[in-house]
Subunit: 406 residues, 2 copies
Amino acid sequence: MLQVKTPQEAFDIIEQTFSRTLPTERITADNALGRIIAEDVRAEEYVPGFDRSTVDGYAVIAADTFGCSDSIPAILEKAGAVEMGESPAFAVTQGKCVEIPTGGAVPKGADAAVMVEYTEDYGDGTVGIAKSIAPGGNIIFKGDDVFPGKTVLHRGRKLSAQDIGALAAMGKCLVTVVRKPRIAIISTGNELVEPDKIPKDGQIRDVNTSLLRALLTAWGAEAVPCGIVEDDEEKLFAAAEGALSRCDGIIISGGSSVGEKDNACRVIARLGEVLLHGIAMKPGKPTIIGRAGDKPMFGLPGHPVAACFTARLFVRKTLAQLTGEKYELRPISAEISENIGSNHGREEYIPVKLKSENGRTTAYPIRTKSGLITSLAGDDGWMRIPRDCEGIEKGRSVDIILNCVG
Amino acid sequence: MLQVKTPQEAFDIIEQTFSRTLPTERITADNALGRIIAEDVRAEEYVPGFDRSTVDGYAVIAADTFGCSDSIPAILEKAGAVEMGESPAFAVTQGKCVEIPTGGAVPKGADAAVMVEYTEDYGDGTVGIAKSIAPGGNIIFKGDDVFPGKTVLHRGRKLSAQDIGALAAMGKCLVTVVRKPRIAIISTGNELVEPDKIPKDGQIRDVNTSLLRALLTAWGAEAVPCGIVEDDEEKLFAAAEGALSRCDGIIISGGSSVGEKDNACRVIARLGEVLLHGIAMKPGKPTIIGRAGDKPMFGLPGHPVAACFTARLFVRKTLAQLTGEKYELRPISAEISENIGSNHGREEYIPVKLKSENGRTTAYPIRTKSGLITSLAGDDGWMRIPRDCEGIEKGRSVDIILNCVG
């Protein structure tokens, strides 16, 4: 029998065991989408580097507009026009204004910009201002965005498109990121054949190599598929040992239970140390987490749905540890569309489809037998039912983890 | 002045104008993560191809176990053992059972599998069964997963990791996907310099090329950066015309308003047709959508935050039209952390950070001046405030669109 631990205990073990050991590399920011940044990024300059107008109109001294209106406009002398991309050579003094485009540099002396809609060019060198403006109005000041020394991106962040934009704004064209973790994938089982083969009676196609490869890729790791190994401890040991020497971690799927032909646990013990064998969750109970030095080793269930859920939880978390990624499973709340029965002391994970209506999100459970991978095709996310939950009534709030592929 | 349309009208125009025109290509399923599948995928075989046990134990005729218990076990004759990956040569007849591993092929005659935990091997060729089981118990039947002719993946789906697993299960090693849309990116503005340059006074770095490149990449398109063009209609026309000839669509950012130096609208009109100029949203009002034949052309605001939000809404939607992707913006519901003021007749988009506590998700707005791209670094998603909304009270439900990077 397995000495099961809870999913939270498994997370704790992963957090206590694995930390960032991967080297860093310096790459161009434009190729860093989805990578984990390895250093705090501080601004070295002011962005913007000068006061900018946010409107097309006139740069003014705000006090010159106080009390003006449609019927009694303030009349200012037009002292020039700001050209985009150039530093204005003139200043605005009392009673004067300067034409300015959106994004133009605010001339010295001016402290606000009036929208062109509230002005009238009288054509005689003067401009009427029909609406008063407060100092600072319609101006982005030098350093409003960032100033030297400000930390804009914190180490461990997975770089989003907006982050890439922020790096460009700061002139950071190279960034230091953590090398992608290289994770070996081994499928084991006498019943398995490659996906391009026609299975004979008693055989099935190996799904987990393709599934885990795609999951690892989506999570920003480099998957190293190592093929199918039969139910033979020495052969599995040799394959796992070889893979471990070339990679930062290994995943063995299949043979993770306690039967005579379940070799994953023995092989993981021989290569290092078994940290955990058995997790109180459904699907996914016969899951192994081990270590060989600072390299993680997983034994996942052979059933693809169980392998999928245990990978989403524990492999994903471990990758975050290896890269130093600030990562949390961020569930959203949704209302359940039907009653869910008790789950008898273990956490249960159920794939769901989501529908949003009238400001409420409803989760529709997808019913699946363990192993029916095609039932997962089309899910939007997955629901977690806490352990010892005595069932959930239709309409109650549940936690949903979203699947994201961009 | 702009003749603005609502965001919904803009979506309608995109839906009515653009449809799938991109060619397909045949690629290996293992490289198809995130690609848009161009054909319905039907199963050609039964998966699994045979009845399989979901437990380690004994294959039995269920009726032989009826009425048995711990104290009065059913005694069955052990007729053999199923080997993994092999078709059992023997059948189970009344009063007999066969040892079977998880995933093993159920022998003819048997209609259930009893978990080994509820059995005892007496060592004399007989086995005691201590728990009755119903017909079908612990068996996945041939075709339970899929059967010939069943449509497993529908055309237009963006392939997830689970989908890649399902393709492997069905032996579909090649899939027909839509070629990635190639989208040109042009930044325009005399004030812009490349991100690796030090801006002089009045100049700023071009953020939008990097930002849009990363967004397009995250959405599965191929970005073709075409550099910075100054505020000159003929130069912008030449650059856009050249880019359009090599790509499936273009995005011009900057110069999208109605000022003298705003050339994007004139250039888009000369290259084809302006469908819309001005959208009632904040940020992002000066947005242009046009077409050149069946190729989309966008004029996005130069402000990076405005360019980011309009791209997320309208460029993303257009990419889905070009590839035939079944796509919807799927908002989740969250409670707002503070009062939000009225937004005066236009939809407003505000970046948010999310926190989940006690089954509720709270959205914390990130306050930003338009153009402050670094304020977006760190957002989890964005909130939509409907037009004509008279303000939202703290604690009320709002729609949130999540950012996903895997």
